[in-house]
Symmetry: C4
Subunit: 480 residues, 4 copies
């Protein structure tokens, strides 16, 4: 039994104690190994860190990272709320919550975002909403869809409308899936499991973040037998730890493929987050991008894929392809690589890059064979059902939502995510009907006028390739 006053003395890098779930830990030696950086811990040195810790770490992580000897004992007068995180009450049972507008009155994703903003803590909002530098790509991700003009056909029977589609041969109930986004419990205590429950209702696919705030087992616990999950892999500098996690994933039958993230080998500069961090560091423990937690920046095509082949037989999907050249290279690695995600990390990696729509059109122009070899999906900027059908018409098998799902979760837990999916599904079905298609796979180039974006795509292959490729002797035009 240790007195709080004793804990309070150990509040520096020389001797750093924290309280977690009613127990006292000496984390002095762990400080420099903390993937999220020592500052985040020091901000809570000598204090009860349970709430801050619990929100963003899955259970079991404590045991994995900390030596058992680090546990010094039990806190004497530990308050009940320390033993069990109270964020649920502080968030949902608040007085204003009782006055809040019902989910059904939120008519579109913009309104759900506004509702989420009202409910999220400042650090949660900062973490989710932030993008790199001046947010140009984040904004462009959405606006680009307005430059694609749908071409509705008439006199077509549109009584039926079937939103189901296939990805990697798997049946999906919706062409809309959940992108891997870290730390869902910052939004709502139901966390990633709440998202899974909502997906179950729609047969929607969910990509589980490498940095989920719950264990994979917790997330898939109540899945429907046909429900589809992918798992996001960030390769860590600590290769053994990555291999251990992959082995774990191999054993979870709900996980159908591994989604290897490539678009963030190094953290982008998110100033909203940085500012928030500066303000909170001293007071309450900042939220650091989990992306920086020891990600390996040395991946290469052959070495990394060979290594992965040795540790899993799950299909591989590469996330973060941003050029047609890399799409070709990915296609050359089929069938180990089965799909690609065109993504700029929601505008959180390199600012001012082009949008996934540009990359779709680049592939269309220079290497349409890629669509035959790989299943292509996209994420970033989806706000409306018209956005969904446009991406599908350009060749995507499905479109991912990241922030939108988290905003739904923040606005109302599982029900909020369901509301988000319902709105998008309804809008998508309406758009399909008005375009004159009954099935997702009927959507094709004839349904979109892309001229405005075409003029933003390089018109000569050579102008992009007249410099030597970084990857060595890169073929001007790969033939399969």
């Amino acid at each position: 039994m240790i007195e709080p006053s004793e804990v309070a003395k150990h509040n520096s890098a020389d001797s750093c104690w924290v309280v977690l779930y009613g127990k006292v830990y000496d984390v002095t030696n762990f400080l420099e190994n903390h993937p999220g950086g020592s500052a985040a811990i020091l901000a809570l040195a000598g204090k009860d860190a349970t709430e801050e810790y619990d929100t963003i770490h899955p259970s079991g992580l404590l045991e994995e990272y900390l030596d058992p000897k680090a546990c010094l004992g039990v806190l004497s007068a530990s308050a009940p709320e320390a033993a069990e995180p109270t964020r649920i009450s502080s968030q949902s049972a608040s007085k204003e919550a009782s006055e809040e507008t019902p989910l059904s009155s939120l008519l579109n994703l913009a309104e759900i975002e506004q509702a989420a903003k009202r409910k999220l803590s400042p650090k949660g909002w900062a973490y989710y909403s932030s993008a790199t530098d001046d947010s140009i790509t984040k904004i462009h991700n959405n606006l680009i869809y307005r430059s694609i003009l749908p071409r509705p056909r008439v006199f077509i029977d549109c009584r039926e409308c079937d939103l189901s589609t296939r990805f990697l041969g798997l049946k999906l109930g919706l062409p809309i899936y959940i992108s891997p986004a870290a730390m869902a419990r910052l939004a709502h205590p139901q966390g990633e499991a709440g998202i899974a429950a909502a997906c179950r209702k729609f047969g929607a696919m969910q990509l589980i973040s490498h940095n989920a705030s719950m264990t994979t087992q917790q997330i898939v616990a109540n899945a429907h037998p046909d429900q589809i999950f992918g798992w996001q892999l960030y390769c860590l500098k600590d290769v053994k730890r990555s291999e251990k996690r992959i082995a774990e994933i191999n054993s979870i039958k709900e996980i159908k493929f591994i989604c290897l993230t490539l678009d963030a080998p190094f953290p982008g500069k998110r100033e909203i987050e940085e500012r928030q961090k500066m303000e909170e560091l001293r007071a309450a423990g900042a939220v650091l991008s989990p992306q920086v937690w020891g990600t390996d920046a040395s991946l290469t095509w052959e070495r990394t894929l060979n290594w992965l082949r040795m540790h899993t037989s799950l299909p591989i999907v590469l996330k973060g392809i941003q050029t047609y050249e890399d799409a070709i290279l990915a296609a050359k690695h089929a069938p180990q690589v089965r799909g690609i995600v065109l993504s700029n990390h929601g505008g959180r990696a390199l600012d001012t890059v082009s949008t996934p729509v540009h990359v779709l059109l680049e592939i269309r122009r220079f290497c349409p064979e890629v669509f035959d070899r790989l299943d292509v999906i996209v994420d970033g900027g989806i706000q409306r059902g018209t956005d969904v059908v446009k991406a599908l018409a350009l060749g995507a098998k499905a479109v991912g939502i990241g922030r939108a799902a988290l905003y739904g979760l923040a606005a109302g837990g599982q029900s909020g995510v369901e509301r988000t999916l319902q709105i998008l599904a309804d809008e998508t079905a309406t758009a399909m009907r008005l375009l004159g298609v009954q099935h997702v796979d009927q959507l094709s180039l004839q349904h979109v006028n892309t001229r405005l974006v075409d003029s933003q795509i390089s018109d000569s292959e050579s102008s992009m390739l007249n410099a030597e490729s970084v990857e060595g002797a890169f073929p001007a035009r790969a033939k399969f």
Copy 2:
């Protein structure tokens, strides 16, 4: 004789009574058959629904839809204003009306819209002004005209200026017509008949909405012998009812053709309306889009046109063509199909679609023969006489105004519509004179520089058609 207090007890789906024109009706069994949905009726359950009903339903509809046995009797203490709707007084005779600016001081359509906004009820404004999603297409419909640059020729005698034109061989006094728009009595008690009276003064054509708030007979009652009307057909799921209405129309000599609406087989998402609906549902009966009243979503070229041929010999005009492919298909159905309306339903169907101007240019580029086979007219976004002449120069025979006519009606009844038409006619004549043309049919491509919009049209036919056509083996380029 039934007491109001008795009526008031029947205010639920289990037993639902309403008062209409001083009589009490039991509409419990009708609830689920109401084309506008049960909620609209339940909001008025146990109350006098006359005002709400009367504004948007033509007379005779009550008898058509309700079983005679549904009438339970006469309301005992029925107030005079219940027996006769009082919207006229409540709207026009208001105190502020006496202070209002005279119609002659409204100089352009934007000012008429502002005047209408001040006079319309919130639900009327919501219904008329709303568009789908983010209103991108509605806004674009107007702005696109600014991208077309007129090319005025000099040294041309422009003393004379003749605004008359022809459509389907019929003589029109103006190249501006009234698009079919539902429920004009929401704007003003003179309703569609007020619009007809204004059209009479200009020889302007009027397309009567399938969902007019007056009977066709009432609307055409005071028509000039040369006045031209078309009638808009929404095919209903209840085919027999459609056939009955067509038969009725066949017998009205003022109706010269049937305008079959294709651009709204399924309702778009109009959030302004939805929000208004949510607010009013409990209180006063919302205005639901009549478009959803049982429209048949299963129309197809051959089946529907064959059916129509059996029930009318009137010429057919197809409304809602949005691609050059469908323009070609329509032309192949000439001469049964005599004309097409390029329309995106005023931005109320699918948001972000291209404008009628884009479609005109698409037809120009890929299948100009269509203009020889069909009379092409357009609607959407017309605000200025320069807009009118641009559409005409691109090949349209006439341009339709929908909201603008209703705003005129709201601003001043028949006189307001006349003011609207006068402004547009004057502006159109001025534009013709300054361009150097005396007759509408002299307007041609030399009078417009379309380069800015040209670059928004696909430059390769194949890029639009490299997917299999929904309609089966669609010919790459139809030759007639």
Copy 3:
């Protein structure tokens, strides 16, 4: 001697008297012949109209239009200020004038415009600043220059900078001239003569408006022997009156050419003016566009130019050419036609038309020979010296300023016009030096990157000409 109380009784269309310069006139019969319309007179019926009349009519006009018998006598108690207009004092000697910022502190044309706005009467501001419809062309006239990128060359001796140029073989001190704009005395009592005095200092050319508020003789009275004037002709319906005025002009040696205005055969719709008119009509006499004063709308190439040839041997310049086709036709009428003014009437004729810069580029693309046959000048939108050099580099011999000169006049009479010309001349010289040219005629296409505007010009001659020309068999490409 007539009493004011007696005059006051004749205040209607039945009997309409007005006082002018201390005399009483019965203008009842003249009402419907007034080129500016009867309403303008009726607003002053029974009153002293001297100030309103004097500001906008040149002297002598009274005698020209009114029968001598219309003068009924002298006003008995005529106030001194009635006998002599007092606008000078009321405008310039006002208290605020003494506090005003000195002209030298106005650094650019935008600031001069602001200063003018503060000094002009509401009706003066409305008349000068107004443009047609939504002022799109007026705004575009200026903004288009920002799309032309100058290309400065280095290592060129730019110590000398010579702004002189030639037009119709005449030497001009500046490549900037004064466009014909009506009623300068609305801006300042020095009127057109004040502008002429300012032009004298710079050797700048002045085009005198057909509707000047002073006689031509008054305007040119103090001209330097080398000073160049052109005279603007609006052909009147009353041909004899036009012939009389031309004869008068033939006799004034300072007038070197006639500028026949073609871009306003019919008045555009200027709502600012219309609104101003409505407000003032009852009170103080509105300013009507002199353009509507009986302009003949029946001009044609052959007939009008033949007629003109019979009545003057002065060179002809055609103002208001807006297409390359008409530039070709004008060139075919050389040498009687010696020059053309590319102009859209400052955005006061047809709104949304292209700018003179577009027309310059159109001529460059389709018929560059025109520059060899005719002297081309442009007006509209000039705000900066960079605008001037861009127009010159594209082939214009000189650029005109209309509103800018009137704003200078309003801001400070002759000195204000001089300040305007000095600012533009200084900016132009600086731009020439920084581009690396010493003489105006060295400016050429190499000094401007026009790519942004090129993409707004039709790229195919035929697309503009695939309709039959209004002018009859118009040759696809004229060869001289």
Copy 4:
């Protein structure tokens, strides 16, 4: 010993005395020789001018320009602060300084600019921030970078990131250098030497302004042996003075090359400065553009380069190339000319000209050989690391910052400049990593999509060259 009251009497152009560093000078005869104009001195006539003088003039200049006899003696009651300028205390030790935000909290260059604006005097801010006319080019310089889309490659080892590069064969620690900008002591008393000290930490190159507020010796005094400086030359009308300064520079071993400025042969019109000047002239001595201090406007390729060859053997870099034609001409003068700076003088010369990015692309399109013959660097508009990598990918060897360095200096002296360089270096390294390059010279065209800007570059060489070149027989396409 001279009394202040005596000095005060000599306050006009007839007899003008000023106090400098405790001594009294009669500058009556010098007035019209002052390169900055007489008004700047007259504003301080009869007063102590030390502070105003000291801030913008390097030491030694007084002796160089003034006859020794002009010194009349010592001021009797000279205040201590007159003998030693007090700007340091008045600027840095101010009360608000103690409350200011730490430099580390400034996250990007925009925030540093804001911090600088708060600290700079109005005249310092006006001088630094001003640009010509409407600042269109200044703004465009930055925005153009948003139109260049980076193309990140994946699966590339990006652990290492090396920012070093070479210019003229010299090793630079950063691809970011300091552009020559005048009068750094307006920003901070450490002046150009403070910038040099910051550059030392990064191995960054510094171009010393011809109009530096310190002597070259003072600036390079504490340089690291490997630190690289260039010296900016404005050729003066007083050729002998230029030759004297070049001789001085030849003897300073830290200066590795001479940067001859060509983009400002004549001062542009900076209205912010002009306005500031008007306000201050009477009160406190305005800051005049040193650019106007006697710059020779007669430079030409052969004559000037020949003259320079006679006076220095240092490599020559030409600053201010704005067309591909001049880039070709510069390349023809290799190897005397070793490099060029694509620059529009930060938008301070001719407004509305194209940006350095346009010129890079113009050279790419018409004469890519230039990159083999000359080292090309650019300045203007750099705000983000992504801007840096884009310029490098297009062929620049390094990018210069001008205002940004001065803003850093104003915000915190040497530390402020270091913060500026650190932010840009970090952002640049992040951008390189996310693009998949380790070394600056790996950046190439494949890393940028330039399509949006391509469409702003003339697509035909001839359209730019169809006029005779000013420089005589300019070859349509130079071959080396």
